[in-house]
Symmetry: C2
Subunit: 173 residues, 2 copies
DNA sequence: CTGAGTGTTCAGTATAAACTGAAACATTTG
DNA sequence: CAAATGTTTCAGTTTATACTGAACACTCAG
């Protein structure tokens, strides 16, 4: 399986499962399958191999690899005397998780919070006290979430420690 | 605006913004718009009104109301001497948030974790040590997330307190 | 300079998800 | 029972998103 050919059923089943599971991380099917391929492959893989093994177009593979690289969950590597680009997965699973979380906060959460704040600043709901109050609470909730997320994600080791602490402090599941 | 007619621009703009923003919560556009309508409306609203004001079909409105009720973010109420069903938003924003979080964990996270565990239990990656290790770490990460989420969401007041504490403890943003 | 090998881009197409509109059915009550 | 309301279902349509495939761009060896 290490040769990026998905010869073993274990590997190929993992790739497909991860493909559907990946939506949780915010990846689309192709990105998740590619990521899974890297997770079960020890050696660096190149673009054509990805496209061939997963049965997707070169174009799609190229876009997905670029995106995964933007997210920081795979890295480009080179073999000496070889012009081709090879890629490997970020080795640390926790780092992978943090990178994705950071990226998603930046892309999805922050704009949403901005949007909400603008809305509340510009629009006037003062003729409806209940509404006014609800929207203020909403803003407060988002702000709290923002603070917590920001602190957890600002620094990987600190965030990781905080999560470990949290796990120990909370009542056992 | 309180008469569920979206006469003011403030209200209608909020509804549309919330509609696109709602994906963050895991709602689709219609559900999010309906939820927003309830957020900016003080009086109970009935199905036909929802459909008319938001310009969506009765069928869609009915399904969305049902779903929102399942999530626990709106409630059915009745007016005396009136046979029709009316709905209002859950008044507490934090409760709304928790209900959605609980529901999404149950629907999305838990099955994904199960899936991963089954996969790791059944499949054998022992011929590839790096892969084996990565997948074990992955399982550990998911389990930690599961523990923390489970504890935070098990009880609303406790969870809320924990988040408040967390906010105070973490370095200021 | 040329062209073979490789990586990127994008217009068009396919796929999946949401929504409509209408009908069938269920339930309540005057 | 008939009228009013609520729910469910579903074939057809719209809309958003992902993906393809071919053209284009870049690099480098000869």
């Amino acid at each position: 399986m290490s040769s990026a050919s998905l010869t073993t059923p274990a590997a190929s089943q993992f790739v497909e499962s991860w493909g559907s599971l990946g939506v949780l991380w915010g990846l689309n099917r192709s990105m998740a399958r590619i990521h899974a391929l890297f997770l079960v492959t020890d050696e660096p893989i190149e673009l054509d191999q990805v496209a061939r093994v997963l049965n997707i177009s070169r174009g799609n593979a190229s876009m997905c690899l670029k995106e995964l690289r933007n997210w920081g969950v795979i890295q480009r590597v080179h073999k000496t005397g070889d012009r081709q680009d090879y890629y490997v997965a970020e080795p640390d699973v926790w780092t992978t998780f943090f990178r994705i979380a950071v990226e998603r906060k930046k892309r999805e959460f922050d704009p949403a919070l901005n949007n909400l704040r603008h809305l509340l600043a510009e629009e006037d709901f003062s003729d409806s006290p209940k509404t006014q109050k609800r929207l203020e609470e909403m803003e407060e909730l988002f702000s709290t979430a923002n603070t917590i997320l920001g602190a957890l994600l600002a620094n990987e080791t600190a965030g990781r420690k905080a999560l470990g602490l949290l796990k120990r402090v909370l009542p056992k599941s």
